[in-house]
């Protein structure tokens, strides 16, 4: 019982951390954005390194340091509350390239203890990584587990192995649908359309087709033993051919996903080892949570299965 509560709090806590942690950029991103758009304001955090000084053209200027230790003048239109005593700010701002100073648009709060990096092009939408990526991973894990028990069934002809294979395929289908839905909703806001035939979108679409075909095949065979054998064989064939997409897709389609082979703008999110440490920690914690959740769902299905067998008086 205790571990279920722990799991619940674990996932809830890391979801909260993932969603609530502010996104805050540095001077690097500010100047990068300024090259593309003079108007766009992004969230930044900085520590104050001096007293507010009134500016010649009105407003107030405070000397500040960003998280990388770079200095700049931060210009406020009105003097912020408790200006002398605060040690830092989280604020939306833009870089004024003519005055060579940062224009603070709106103060959001104190300097946050930890934050996620600002990634141009992703911004707040980067936070989907904590939910979408674990779902996509679980789809693949469930598929591999399903294939593993399929092989076990072919070796030992034990219908319990077949049951585990189906249970895992069912969960895989669930995670696959969730990953596809969250992904395409996100794609609408980030890439402009729900579906773009990006390599990973295509791969998950094919996995969805494989799961669909797997269950269609199962419902078309009546004898349990034959059903188990045929679906295990199909599972293995699919698992042997799906990886070809890894080689074929990049030739046909440019990747949109961060971390695609031809992607060099992904920056600090997922490029190997370059991901922000806090983000990586939250992501891996969520992955762990989802893995345990998957195990729990497998256990529940196992119990349900035994109850059904008992009612039909077929328990071994």
């Amino acid at each position: 019982m205790w571990w279920k509560l722990l799991l619940f709090f674990w996932i809830a806590a890391f979801s909260a951390v993932g969603l609530v942690t502010p996104i805050a950029g540095s001077l690097t991103e500010l100047s990068m954005i300024a090259q593309w758009s003079a108007e766009k304001a992004i969230p930044v955090k900085f520590r104050t390194a001096g007293e507010p000084v009134s500016a010649e053209d009105g407003g107030w200027v405070i000397r500040g340091t960003d998280k990388h230790g770079h200095d700049a003048d931060f210009h406020f239109s009105a003097i912020p509350e408790n200006a002398g005593t605060r040690d830092g700010y989280l604020a939306t701002a833009r870089y004024d390239t003519t005055a060579h100073r940062v224009e603070v648009v709106e103060v959001l709060g104190e300097y946050p203890g930890f934050s996620f990096p600002f990634i141009p092009g992703l911004e707040e939408r980067a936070k989907i990584i904590f939910f979408h990526v674990p779902m996509a991973w679980m789809t693949v894990v469930a598929f591999l587990v399903s294939m593993w028990f399929g092989i076990q069934y072919l070796r030992k002809k034990d219908l319990e192995d077949d049951f585990r294979s189906v249970a895992s395929a069912g969960l895989g289908l669930l995670f696959c649908v969730l990953a596809t839905t969250t992904g395409s909703l996100w794609a609408k806001f980030n890439w402009g359309s729900f579906w773009n035939w990006d390599p990973r979108q295509t791969s998950i679409f094919v996995l969805l087709l494989v799961y669909g075909a797997y269950f269609a095949l199962r419902s078309a065979v009546e004898i349990e033993e034959k059903k188990a054998t045929l679906s295990a064989v199909y599972n293995i064939i699919a698992a042997a051919t799906v990886p070809f997409f890894i080689f074929i897709m990049p030739r046909i389609m440019p990747g949109l996903h961060p971390g695609s082979a031809d992607d060099n703008s992904a920056g600090p999110v997922v490029s190997s080892g370059g991901m922000d440490a806090i983000m990586r920690f939250v992501l891996y914690s969520m992955l762990g949570g989802f893995l345990v959740l998957y195990g729990w769902l497998m256990r529940i299905q196992g119990r349900l299965h035994r109850i059904k067998l008992k009612r039909a008086e077929l328990a071994p």
Binding site: L154, V206, L209, V210, G212, A213, A216, L217, A220, V221, E222, K226, T229, L230, A232, V233, Y234, I236, I237, A238, A240, T241, V242, F244, F245, F247, I248, M249, R251, I252
Partner: protein, 221 residues
């Protein structure tokens, strides 16, 4: 084992020539499909690249309508047990693979010839590379569909299940095949087409190997 496989191959061929169960319907299917495409495209000018896609669509659906025949016929007539009493599963798989290979090659050559004759806009830049890709693609289609046909022959809703099960398995082959054919049709460059050819080759090797390993489980009740 090879002798057994050839004997089964000849049996299927003789049976097909006698009953004309698959081939007549398949040839008509191809003619009808091409006619539909031509009616749909009256007055349109399409690039050879777009027509390559059409060509593969026709080849895919022709395969989907004909290649399950050899296994489904054994199962429907109840002769699969007879065959089981005559030869090893490996020989049976090989015999069926050879038959499907012949059928799909004949079918695809027919489709391509009709395509070249009827579509004026379909010009091929390098014809020998083009035929080589069609040959590799045909072998790939035959190898993937033979094991799937063996699976669906044991199920209830055979006809509808065949494309459903085949599509996700055959999709990498289709994509590599279309990509390679496009290169042969538009701007033949050996170094750009080479990865596609490698992919087609390794796909065939992987699928046939795994089919040999798994066929016995499918075949035996």
């Amino acid at each position: 084992m090879l002798k057994q496989a050839f004997a089964i191959f000849w049996k299927d061929l003789a049976s097909e020539l006698r009953t004309r169960y698959a081939i007549n319907a398949l040839l008509m299917f191809v003619v009808v499909t091409l006619a539909v495409i031509m009616f749909a495209l009256v007055g349109e000018t399409l690039s050879p690249g777009a027509l390559t896609g059409m060509l593969w669509v026709v080849m895919f659906f022709a395969a989907m309508s004909g290649l399950s025949r050899s296994f489904v016929a054994e199962e429907e007539r109840g002769t699969s047990m007879t065959l089981q009493l005559l030869a090893t599963p490996t020989a049976i798989y090989l015999g069926k693979l050879l038959f499907n290979l012949l059928l799909v090659l004949a079918l695809n050559i027919f489709i391509v010839l009709l395509f070249l004759l009827t579509m004026d806009q379909f010009t091929v830049a390098q014809i020998d590379l083009f035929w080589f890709v069609i040959l590799l693609g045909s072998i790939g289609i035959a190898s993937a569909t033979t094991i799937i046909a063996a699976i669906i022959a044991k199920a209830n809703t055979k006809g509808t299940l065949f494309p459903v099960l085949s599509f996700p398995v055959i999709l990498p082959l289709l994509m590599a095949g279309i990509s390679a054919t496009k290169i042969a049709v538009e701007e033949p460059m050996w170094d750009t087409v080479w990865p596609d050819l490698q992919l087609l080759g390794s796909y065939i090797v992987v699928v046939i190997t795994i089919s040999f390993l798994l066929f016995e489980f499918v075949w035996k009740d």
